[in-house]
Symmetry: C2
Subunit: 161 residues, 2 copies
Amino acid sequence: MEQYNAYSQLLERTARRVKQYAQYQFNCQQFGITVDQWTILKNLNQYADLAQKELAEYCGKDQPTLTRIVDLLVGKQLVERRPHPNDRRSFVVHLTPTGKAKVETLSGRVGSIRMQAWKNLNEADFEHLKRILDTIYDNLDVRKGETDQVPATEWLSDKIE
Amino acid sequence: MEQYNAYSQLLERTARRVKQYAQYQFNCQQFGITVDQWTILKNLNQYADLAQKELAEYCGKDQPTLTRIVDLLVGKQLVERRPHPNDRRSFVVHLTPTGKAKVETLSGRVGSIRMQAWKNLNEADFEHLKRILDTIYDNLDVRKGETDQVPATEWLSDKIE
DNA sequence: CTCATATATTTGTCATACTAATTATTATTG
DNA sequence: CAATAATAATTAGTATGACAAATATATGAG
């Protein structure tokens, strides 16, 4: 039973290092944003003008966290909040021209940075990993069946189109 | 190249859920500590009276983070700082009787909680996962060769003895 | 239509991660 | 031995994550 604790820690430790490595490279190369901020910009560029709730869903963040990241991006003038056409409770987040330019400039460089993690691994490894992580994710759904969240599997395939 | 970004996010998202699920159960069952605090107690119980730097290494935390977690555990009277016998810069962290009792009480229950993540997976999956995560971890060693850190593989095998 | 309920966002609080800088002490070098 | 460099721990600042509560608006039941 002990080993499950160790596996969990291994997973967390690896994820932390992946993020830390990316952030380190972002800093060295003076991207001027954090890895999480990049995630927001990336998704906005892909899907364009999402409400914050949707954006949070796509980015895998909760709403308070998203609000704060959007605040920072607004401060950097990379995105702006626009009123939602049908719902005055809601905002649509829009990439500014500066933001769009940043996505386009950095896209390839982020890709190279991310790639570093996956050296020495092959397609079969990716498939294994994807299946295993999806299984874990679904094992831990606290509110199973109650919500309309995107199943783990679809979520990923959406990203890599 | 895009897919590497998505894999990284998948990994982070899964790790986050594993931690969140465990913390949720800790809270429901009123363990009175966080998952990260548990990691410290667990390692102290296993290795006994480590200097903070060593403890940080074993737990996969950096030193500032460890300092703060130890502060919280001292506040809960689960551990205490003792002077290091040979080095006055350093402290040794010691499990109090209360702390030791807590580790013993919770050990099995934490194991059960952790196990939940790994349902529907078999030994081969664990082996794959371990190998893949270790590969990633070693791919991202920023200061390769410069430090005496524990290689990924040994780190895990140490935990599950 | 009105009231109760649900939803989108924000704010607050605590815990953790990373970086840089500070302090006290130890180790090294000339 | 004295000056310098290295190390253990701490502190400070910023960002993120989880959760609870507050606010404004929308929706649904009667």
